[in-house]
């Protein structure tokens, strides 16, 4: 009997002790996120190869099932594809001509090519955030390949997210549909600025919130292209985010809000491109209004973030 009460007491002490450890860890990571970074580096080096392996096994499995397609279907498909190749070749030669013309014109206007000029590195998605609340994922390239924190991530021509954490062989990316994500954006045709914010409530519709759009002359329409803005703190300018799918006047009659359908298919994201070039930004109070505020749920020290955050919640 004595031993039993002793055990219960010991368990209680252990519980309290470990709870204190947790609280201390929370406080430490609040105050200085750099402290925990070494732990992350070490454990990441060990565990990402395994994640890569499990993922590779998964794609190998799904590849196996594809082998069961019988020869008839394959032949049919071959025929179909051959026709497609013919039409595409024709189209391609036409496009090459157009491109040459475009290049000439660009040269004439001294315009930069779009983001094809940035140096990029391809990476594979190897793991997702473990819960159902946020949209973070791990990729299999890291600082060894030149990826740095705040590097922009794109896929299929559209913006996917931003690198929040880097290890030697891996990096964690926060996608723009994450509930914490706010991207400073603009409408490509009119250069009107707005903020594109991720929202968990929109996961079924697969779209993003568009808020604080200043469009006094009513020139912005549904279907317009939304790209990252020039004043963004962390995102390179002119990267396609998506297209406006709905637009309404806010109750203050000064700004508009609505929804953006992203250009990227986030559900079937497998390969991404990381832009190695970082946005160069000089922090200054004069331009801070409306800039990108990328932060974490529990790290809301910047005033602008809370501002845009509450705006989303009207």
């Amino acid at each position: 009997m004595k031993k039993k009460t002793n055990d219960t007491l010991k368990n209680k002490y252990l519980l309290i002790g470990l709870s204190i450890v947790c609280v201390a860890l929370i406080l430490v990571s609040f105050l200085d996120s750099e402290v925990v970074s070494p732990i992350r580096q070490v454990s990441g080096v060990v565990i990402t190869p395994i994640q890569k392996g499990i993922n590779g096994f998964g794609s190998w499995l799904s590849g196996l099932t594809d082998n069961f397609d019988d020869a008839v279907t394959l032949r049919e498909r071959n025929k179909e594809l051959q026709e497609k190749v013919n039409t595409l070749t024709e189209e391609n030669s036409r496009l090459i001509q157009d491109k040459e013309e475009l290049d000439r014109l660009r040269e004439l206007f001294e315009l930069d090519g779009q983001y094809e000029d940035y140096e990029k590195v391809g990476a594979r998605v190897i793991a997702m955030e473990t819960g159902n609340w946020f949209n973070l994922f791990t990729i299999d390239k890291g600082s060894n390949d030149g990826i740095r924190k705040d590097a922009n991530v794109i896929s299929g021509g559209g913006l996917v997210g931003i690198v929040t954490e880097v290890g030697p062989t891996w990096a964690i990316v926060r996608s723009i549909i994450d509930d914490n994500s706010n991207v400073s954006a603009m409408i490509s045709t009119t250069s009107d600025r707005c903020i594109v914010a991720g929202d968990l409530r929109l996961i079924d519709d697969g779209c993003l919130n568009l808020v604080k759009l200043t469009d006094e002359e009513n020139r912005v329409h549904v279907g317009d292209k939304v790209v990252t803005s020039y004043i963004s703190e962390k995102f390179l300018p002119g990267i396609l985010i998506g297209y406006i799918s709905e637009l309404n006047n806010d109750s203050n009659n000064l700004t508009k809000s609505g929804f953006v359908t992203p250009a990227v298919d986030f559900r079937h994201l497998q390969e991404v491109l990381v832009i190695l070039e970082l946005k160069e930004y000089v922090p200054s109070t004069a331009v801070s209004e409306g800039t990108v505020v990328q932060g974490d749920a529990l790290r809301q020290s910047e005033g602008t973030q809370t501002e845009s955050e509450t705006e989303t919640e009207q």
Binding site: I54, N132, L200, A297
Partner: protein, 172 residues
């Protein structure tokens, strides 16, 4: 020693599976919560101490990978393990009904805490939306997974108890 090694392998494996395989089997972008299953199962089968330690390390590993704030999940899972450890010796652990009930309670509590600290604090006030869209579906999916996973964990624990029989904590 053998026991500790097995536990460590199970903990690392479940975090790995949660971040890869659970993603592949997710339905309507909801994935089951393997970590709650493992924590509750060990609390129920091995008592408060092991439940607590399993939960703590699971949560910590999870935090290290995906959260900026380290210790948040560790704290929740620590208490989940302690709570389910209270039911050790009260129920027979080969009965699947108790773990099902405990896991559903813990998963809902886990969801509510996540919502409360990470969403409500940022002004996301529509609790019932999150309850219906994330918390409850996650719980149901987790329960379905429990039926399979619990049998596996139970078998592993049986093995451990049998080989440890001469040891200190072998006799139940």
């Amino acid at each position: 020693m053998r026991r500790k090694l097995t536990m460590a392998v199970i903990i690392v494996a479940s975090v790995l599976l949660q971040s890869t395989v659970c993603q592949m089997i997710s339905v309507a972008s909801i994935k089951p919560n393997l970590l709650v299953i493992v924590t509750v199962a060990f609390g129920l089968m091995r008592g408060r101490r092991d439940g607590m330690l399993t939960g703590f390390f699971l949560g910590l590993l999870n935090d290290i990978f995906f959260n900026t704030v380290i210790g948040f999940n560790a704290l929740i899972y620590l208490w989940v393990g302690y709570f389910s450890g209270n039911f050790y010796r009260i129920f027979y652990d080969d009965d699947i009904k108790t773990p099902l009930l405990l896991i559903s309670i813990c998963d809902i509590v886990y969801g509510v805490i996540q919502y409360g600290f990470l969403f409500l604090m940022r002004g996301r006030i529509h609790f019932f939306f999150y309850l219906g869209r994330v918390i409850l579906p996650e719980m149901i999916y987790t329960l379905i997974l429990t039926i399979v996973v619990y049998q596996v964990l139970y078998a592993i624990n049986r093995r451990l108890v049998l080989t440890d029989k001469g040891g200190v904590d072998g006799i139940v």
